[in-house]
């Protein structure tokens, strides 16, 4: 199988796998996540290059991966349904200072994650200072403070 098809197969497999894994997977790179990324890249490297260690093969693998990425971004721009299918939606996990429990549970986010983001982004101390917290498509938590918390 030419390296182009192997690279495309790896791209599609990883795309599907990380879509299944959810927004929080690898959203904030801990030391272990970093090691995990390295192991994953090592594991798929052999599948992509097989026994072809040539520079031509490496060149076409990179071309394929980058090309597919560009193609996908164009498709997402052109057809919103493709974007909805491939990119997770932002989810409100705190509304008016209250955790939206079902959404938080489904997204594997707890109160401590939200408070951590609130402290880091706005220097907030308590949940009641948060108006909204949203788990964004990329897995980061954005926090909108209450008006009085922001001014105070």
């Amino acid at each position: 199988m030419p390296s182009i098809f192997r690279a495309a197969a790896v791209y599609v497999t990883l795309l599907l796998l990380f879509r299944i894994a959810g927004k929080r997977t690898l959203s904030e790179i801990t030391t272990f996540d970093f090691v995990l990324l390295l192991i994953i890249s090592e594991a798929v490297q052999q599948a992509m290059i097989a026994n072809d260690n040539s520079m031509t093969s490496a060149f076409f693998i990179v071309l394929t991966l980058v090309g597919l990425d560009i193609l996908l971004s164009l498709a997402k721009q052109r057809w919103p349904s493709v974007e909805r299918l491939l990119d997770p939606r932002p989810v409100v996990i705190v509304r008016d200072g209250e955790m939206v429990k079902h959404a938080a549970k489904c997204e594997r986010v707890d109160e401590e994650d939200v408070l951590s983001a609130a402290r880091f982004l706005h220097g907030l101390e308590r949940m009641d200072q948060i108006k909204h917290a949203i788990l964004e498509s990329g897995g980061k938590i954005s926090v909108i403070p209450r008006g009085d918390a922001a001014s105070g």
Binding site: R6, R89, V92, V100, H132, I134
Partner: protein, 169 residues
């Protein structure tokens, strides 16, 4: 409409049904991952107990052991055993379909055959046997070069067995 997932002051896509479908898809995906890993560990995709095939003729003079699932470009062993009660010649012969070997790299044969001959549609491997009272094992290490189903007939000691192997990418 969707009191839990959206807020009226936030400009977010309020498609709660799609969000729930996404969560269901993720849960189904997690289950699939667990099942695939378990199946992989058991050898459903090669290199495990579920993948191993042991076949023998009714008179037990010829037996083979191989992987039902093999991986492309990865060596796999075909073990051919000729029982001690096979013909008591000092030289024993194993025949394998040439097509099976032509589609692959025959990396190694242990023990080393005294002779390898192409005979019609078959490859003939002649081994010297130390003693007729001992069974003889010949290990053919083969690296499949094509994908999909591969079939072969293995002959020896006047008997024959079929090999059917699926090569995964």
């Amino acid at each position: 409409m969707s009191p839990h997932l959206v807020s009226s002051s936030l400009d977010l896509d309020p498609d709660e049904g799609a969000q729930r479908a996404e969560w269901r898809f993720e849960r189904a995906g997690w289950t699939a991952i667990v099942l695939l890993v378990l199946a992989g560990a058991l050898g459903a995709f090669g290199q495990g107990p579920l993948s191993q095939v042991d076949a023998a003729t009714s008179d037990a003079r010829l037996a083979i052991h191989y992987d039902r699932m093999a991986h492309h470009d990865t060596p796999t062993d075909l073990v051919v055993t000729l029982a001690a009660n096979a013909p008591s010649d000092s030289v024993v012969t194993v025949f394998i379909d040439r097509g099976f070997l032509d589609d692959a790299d025959l990396e190694r044969v242990r023990p080393e055959p005294a002779e390898m001959l192409a005979v019609g549609d078959e490859m003939e491997f002649r081994f010297r046997r130390a003693g007729a009272s001992l069974p003889m094992h010949a290990v053919f290490t083969i690296t499949p070069g094509t994908l999909g189903r591969r079939r072969a007939t293995v002959r020896g000691a006047g008997s024959q067995l079929s090999v059917s192997q699926l090569v995964l990418p």
